[in-house]
């Protein structure tokens, strides 16, 4: 009964299954052709290179205030003292000499520091992300967050400019990061909408959807006409990750497999049945494409995020077999919702993040595609500059603008990017009730008002990926509210 899967496919010819599927599966290219011919025209010219975006979502709201920290003592800007004055007493501050220094041209070459977990760590399998800054392979987009329009502190407090819906709420802020708009709820994510616009043009013969999630269904990956491939992490090999079990080569078993496939073309007048069958169809079709796979070269950490990125690396290695020229991936790491015990909690998560990202970058170098693959972060929101609690259990609460990482050979690395805050630089003034704090009065907690919108951040990535100017406002309906849709952190 048990047999090698490849042997099974060869024996059964897999044509039986495919014949049934062919009648019902909407080809991934065709599906978005529907969207495109209806909504506008994209002259199809298949790209001759490969590009991929890899989104790492830091679930729960990573505390950016303890991720990128001023080391310098320049009194004209927020410096290490501004930070330690607010966070040392409660036990939330990281010692100045523990920070991993980075020099920032945009900040007049002042020194900033990364959380020590982003460098060499005990038990690590590589040197972490920190080194990539000096190599020019990593940029930080500062003070980024959900916005409907640019907004000053006075405008926020007077409520004279529309605010994003339900600031500081996990589910809503996650939704807005992933959907790419903050003025209304959206059924689709910005990754999904890019896929809607680009699948037909970029991956006309693609055997898998343009988007893959290694973390289940996500709004980010949902388009109007495209669905993501969602598979397990590298704990499961690509060849068995979507393989239905229990079939063999007997006539009876093959008849059952055939019926199993045919049933998904039936009773589609029910929307729910059609949706469920469509998802299963995609799985079966992708399974055919993934039946062979090659292992990656670089060692990945044995963590959830490590295993997710390893699976992404495997898929990228198979890109030619899968006939894809453009891909978007979604992975996530959590939980950064550190209301309590943040020092250890965030430290552990950041080191997992850093180890995995570095392994992934190194693997891309090995595969020769490091200039073609750009990894970037998103997170629900930042956390209050003012700590929550004190001592060993000290944490922080929900806030707003945050710092994002972008990594890859195509990144103009080693610098801060994004709009200027009240102090004329892209780094916020670290002061409760200060000029960048959304909060007001003596109880202000330090929730920075973003000076770069999620849309600007995303659009810069999307432009590099190949989204046309004409499609920019379709994928990001509110991008027109902002001064630029290119923050400059990607090489032209």
């Amino acid at each position: 009964m048990k047999q090698n899967r490849r042997e099974f496919l060869t024996k059964s010819g897999c044509a039986l299954g495919m014949a049934a599927i062919a009648t019902q599966v909407q080809h991934f290219g065709m599906m978005s052709a529907l969207a495109q011919t209806v909504d506008g025209s994209n002259a199809p010219s298949v790209p001759n290179d490969y590009r991929a975006l890899v989104c790492i979502f830091m679930q729960g709201g990573n505390d950016g205030n303890n991720t990128v920290i001023p080391i310098h003592s320049d009194a004209s800007l927020s410096n290490y003292s501004s930070y330690s004055n607010a966070r040392t007493a409660s036990g939330l501050a990281i010692a100045q000499n523990a920070l991993l220094p980075i020099t920032v041209p945009r900040m007049n070459n002042l020194s900033y520091g990364l959380n020590p977990s982003l460098g060499v760590v005990t038990g690590g399998i590589n040197n972490g992300m920190h080194e990539l800054w000096a190599q020019g392979k990593m940029a930080i987009v500062t003070n980024t967050g959900t916005l409907v329009k640019p907004m000053t502190r006075a405008q926020y407090q007077a409520n004279s400019v529309p605010r994003p819906l339900q600031l500081f709420s996990h589910s809503d802020q996650v939704t807005q990061y992933q959907s790419g708009r903050s003025d209304q709820n959206s059924f689709t994510g910005w990754g999904g909408r890019i896929s809607d616009r680009r699948t037909q043009a970029d991956n006309p013969g693609g055997l898998v959807p343009m988007i893959t999630s290694i973390s289940g269904a996500q709004l980010f990956t949902a388009g109007q006409s495209t669905l993501p491939l969602a598979i397990n992490n590298a704990g499961t090999s690509l060849s068995s990750v979507l393989s239905p079990q229990g079939f063999n080569t007997t006539a009876a078993s093959q008849a059952r497999l055939s019926a199993f496939n045919q049933l998904r073309a039936q009773d589609l007048n029910s929307d729910y049945i059609a949706a469920a069958s469509n998802i299963t169809n995609q799985a079966i079709q992708a399974n055919q494409a993934l039946s062979t796979f090659q292992e990656v070269t670089v060692a990945f950490p044995n963590t959830s995020i490590g295993s997710q990125l390893k699976q992404v690396a495997r898929l990228i290695k198979k890109r030619a077999d899968l006939s894809v020229n453009r891909q978007i991936f979604y992975v996530q790491i959590g939980s950064f919702d550190t209301h309590t015990s943040q020092i250890n909690g965030q430290g552990t998560l950041l080191s997992q993040f850093s180890q995995a990202v570095r392994a992934f970058y190194d693997e891309m170098v090995t595969q020769g595609v490091s200039n073609s693959v750009t990894t970037f972060t998103m997170s629900d929101f930042a956390r209050t500059f003012n700590p929550a609690g004190s001592g060993a259990v000290v944490g922080s609460d929900h806030a707003w603008a945050n710092h994002m990482f972008v990594i890859g050979g195509a990144v103009s690395g080693g610098n801060f990017y994004g709009g200027n805050t009240s102090n004329g630089t892209p780094f916020p003034t670290l002061q409760m009730n200060g000029p960048d704090d959304a909060d007001n009065g003596t109880n202000a907690r330090g929730r920075w008002i973003p000076t770069t919108s999620v849309e600007q951040y995303a659009a810069t990535l999307a432009r590099w990926y190949g989204l046309s100017d004409g499609d920019m406002s379709i994928v990001f309906p509110n991008i027109v509210n902002f001064p630029t849709n290119d923050l400059g952190f990607m090489q032209p």
Binding site: S169, H170, A217, P244, S258, S270, Y272, S277, S335, H339
Partner: protein, 725 residues
């Protein structure tokens, strides 16, 4: 407006189903009406598949034969005409949905603004319909030509007809339901509503609806419970369930263990597993789902556990989760207000959302935010039918802001685990007390005044400074509980868990009304809420035809329904299963009592990809878990769960009945019929039946067990079964 409508309702339709909202004493045998609503009929022009339609200004016009339906402008208001309805008192426009499909296959929905009877045309109603898409899935729809419209009501769909928008004509094709239906309309034969009495008293004849009901009210139908409902009827059975002792398998009485497991425990076989993991909770939960008598309470508690979420990810000990579940099950048929108190003061929740660490000097807003957003009122002001209230710019209206959260955060400061020997009966030296309710340390309570939720006639909107923490909490929970959002918010989520993912506003409104007032001026009576959900005409009926009706079975229900349908038992079939099944359910995306976040395994607002429909359970249906579902079926149909240290008895299903059907009839038809009845309450399409039959007949008739397995695998793994309708 209101009084005119009331008079209008009094004038029409004698057959009213008033019993739905009335409560009866427990002892009485209650009668169940015919569950089937009539199927609405959209009227067409004579001899055509074009909908009879008129501008809304012609509302007074009664001579339908004079109407000439041309093309209408987008965004205009028109009348459509419908017959074959049997409306309840106060059942109005929000019970109807006009579904629209254009030539490109895109789906839209037009709001129904009003329904009025057409004078002189008995049984015909005019629906005022606004030709503006309300789903908003497709941006900027352009209508240029005919679209197909159909009307959904109580889970039933009408015929579909053409409607010209912008102009008539175009390339849209009639679909299978396009049927010309010229007046005169049919009059409802009310005699059909009561089946002929038979000598042997049967409480509930409707076998297909019995199965549907059991899918909604239990962890799956069994022959025994089906017989009981057949005899007692739905209403009487519900009343017996409200009183049934729970649980059948007692909660394991686990002692509280130290926060750090001792070396002794680490060295003792199974000590970590039995005290520090969710294993005992999961096995107890599944045994109760498989064999418990108080199915409805277990089911309701399970739904509540997905609303008031506490996860094993942060809940260290099984005893903590049991203490939590006891509160859920205790209040499942109690009052929502008491549930709010007991969960707020439950240590597992206190730990999960940090309230036990929130003090006036170091406040933590986690619980304050989530009790508002997730457990009671949600983010936006709702109408009583669950639809969003909109401001003048068409934007939703937030229920609260950060300032409100800050004030509730202050309210909930000062509570700790109960570690006072005199006051805490379950306190165990050396172990944190997660059994007794939290205890107030007034010194850590924020004494400033608090400004809470504002709403019309708000209860306790302002709490004065200096109050005791317990008083603050009680008054603040009253402030939340009396917010008008609670009824529609909670009602909609419970409907989604039990019956259908995208209920009509009318259905939500009927349940919310029961939440607001159980008939005896009691707010929050869960029995009234559950009863109303399960007896509503949108829930009941032998068949539901609306393409947008139903829900994807969550993995837990998917598994327990199949297990119960096939007489789940131990590995060797000699005794009960031990309930060790989570390990084959978790890969489908639902690791029981281990939700990844406080947002549950899926959000109630999840939109099914490629549609604008709510479908919470689709949040965990991916290419990966879709295959996991098929593989789960493979495991239970072709294999068993063997005996191991984790599974003292193992688990298997019993296929003798299906095997007998396969043996009795070599044509396979009897087997197919048996499975169709059992799993799909007779709704299997001919096409599906033939496809499965082909596979069954590929198995030699000398192997009836394999024939049975083949058929069950194919039905159970199909989307047609996985979507519960």
């Amino acid at each position: 407006m209101r009084s005119r409508k009331s008079r209008f309702w009094q004038q029409i339709l004698g057959a009213v189903l008033v019993s739905f909202l009335l409560m009866f004493p427990v002892q009485a045998q209650e009668e169940d009406p015919n569950p089937d609503s009539p199927t609405p009929i959209l009227l067409s022009e004579a001899g055509s598949t074009r909908a009879l339609a008129a501008p809304s200004e012609s509302i007074g016009q009664t001579n339908l034969s004079k109407i000439k339906s041309g093309a209408f402008s987008a965004n205009s208001k028109i009348l459509l005409f419908v017959s074959n309805l049997n409306l309840m008192p106060d059942e109005g426009a929000n019970a109807f949905r006009v579904n629209v499909e254009d030539a490109k296959g895109r789906q839209y929905r037009f709001p129904v603004l009003e329904i009025m009877p057409v004078k002189g045309q008995n049984g015909v109603y005019a629906l005022t319909v606004l030709l503006t898409d309300e789903l908003k899935f497709w941006e900027r729809p352009k209508f240029k030509g005919d679209v197909l419209v159909s009307l959904a009501w109580r889970g039933l769909v009408s015929n579909s007809l053409r409607l010209g928008i912008g102009k008539t004509g175009g390339i849209i094709k009639n679909d299978v339901r396009a049927v010309s239906t010229t007046a005169p309309p049919t009059q409802i034969d009310k005699s059909e509503n009561s089946p002929n009495p038979t000598p042997n008293f049967v409480g509930y004849y409707y076998s297909a609806d019995r199965t549907r009901f059991l899918e909604q009210a239990t962890f799956g139908p069994t022959p025994g419970i089906d017989q009981k409902i057949r005899r007692l009827g739905l209403r009487t059975w519900l009343n017996t369930q409200f009183e049934a002792p729970y649980p059948t398998n007692p909660y394991p009485n686990l002692i509280l263990m130290p926060g750090n497991a001792t070396d002794e425990c680490r060295a003792t076989l199974n000590c970590i597993r039995d005290f520090y993991t969710m294993y005992p909770v999961q096995t107890w939960f599944y045994k109760e789902a498989f064999y418990g008598d108080a199915q409805l309470r277990h089911r309701t508690a399970w739904a509540l556990s997905q609303l008031w979420v506490v996860s094993g990810v942060d809940t260290q000990q099984a005893s903590w989760m049991f203490a939590y579940h006891q509160k859920l099950s205790q209040h499942a048929f109690g009052n929502y207000r008491n549930l709010m108190t007991d969960i707020t003061l439950n240590p597992a929740m206190g730990n999960y959302l940090d309230m036990i660490r929130s003090t006036r000097n170091n406040p933590n807003e986690n619980f304050a935010r989530e009790i508002l957003q997730l457990f009671s009122i949600g983010l936006f002001m709702l109408n009583q039918d669950g639809t969003l209230q909109l401001d003048g710019d068409g934007k939703p209206i937030p229920t609260y802001d950060q300032n409100t959260v800050n004030n509730f955060t202050k309210v909930f400061t000062g509570w700790t685990l109960c570690e006072n020997t005199a006051l805490c009966p379950n306190r165990t030296a050396g172990a944190p007390n997660y059994k007794d309710p939290l205890l107030l340390n007034q010194n850590n309570h924020d004494l400033t005044a608090k400004t809470l939720l504002a709403y019309p006639n708000a209860v306790n909107q302002n709490l004065p400074a200096g109050q005791n923490g317990a008083t603050d909490m009680t008054q603040a929970l009253d402030n939340i509980f009396n917010h008008p959002n609670v009824a529609p918010f909670v009602s909609r989520i419970l409907i989604q868990h039990l019956v259908t993912s995208d209920p009509t506003p009318a259905y939500v409104g009927r349940v919310a009304a029961a939440f607001n007032n159980n008939g005896s001026n009691v707010r929050g009576d869960m029995k009234a809420v559950i009863k109303t959900i399960l007896l509503d005409p949108e829930a009941r009926g032998n068949v539901k035809t609306d393409p947008k009706y139903g829900k994807l079975r969550e993995p837990v229900q998917f598994a327990t329904n199949l297990y119960r349908q096939f007489n789940v038992r131990s590995f060797d079939g000699t005794t009960q299963s031990d309930g060790y099944v989570n390990q084959i359910i978790a890969p489908m995306g639902q690791n029981t009592f281990n939700s990844a976040t406080v947002f549950n395994y899926y959000t109630p607002d999840y939109i099914v990809p490629g549609t604008a429909l709510n479908g919470p359970e689709f949040g965990i249906l991916t290419t990966g878990t879709a295959i996991a579902r098929a593989n789960f079926i493979n495991t239970i149909v072709f294999n068993r769960i063997g005996i191991s240290s984790l599974a003292p008895f193992g688990t298997s299903i019993d296929l003798t009945e299906m095997q007998a059907s396969a043996t009795a009839d070599a044509s396979g038809n009897q087997l197919l019929d048996a499975i169709n009845t059992k799993l799909m309450h007779g709704t299997m399409s001919e096409q599906m039946k033939n496809t499965i039959l082909t596979a069954v007949l590929a198995v030699a008739d000398t192997d009836p067990l394999l024939r049975a397995r083949t058929a069950i695998y194919l039905v159970a793994s199909s989307s047609q079964y996985q979507v519960q309708r």
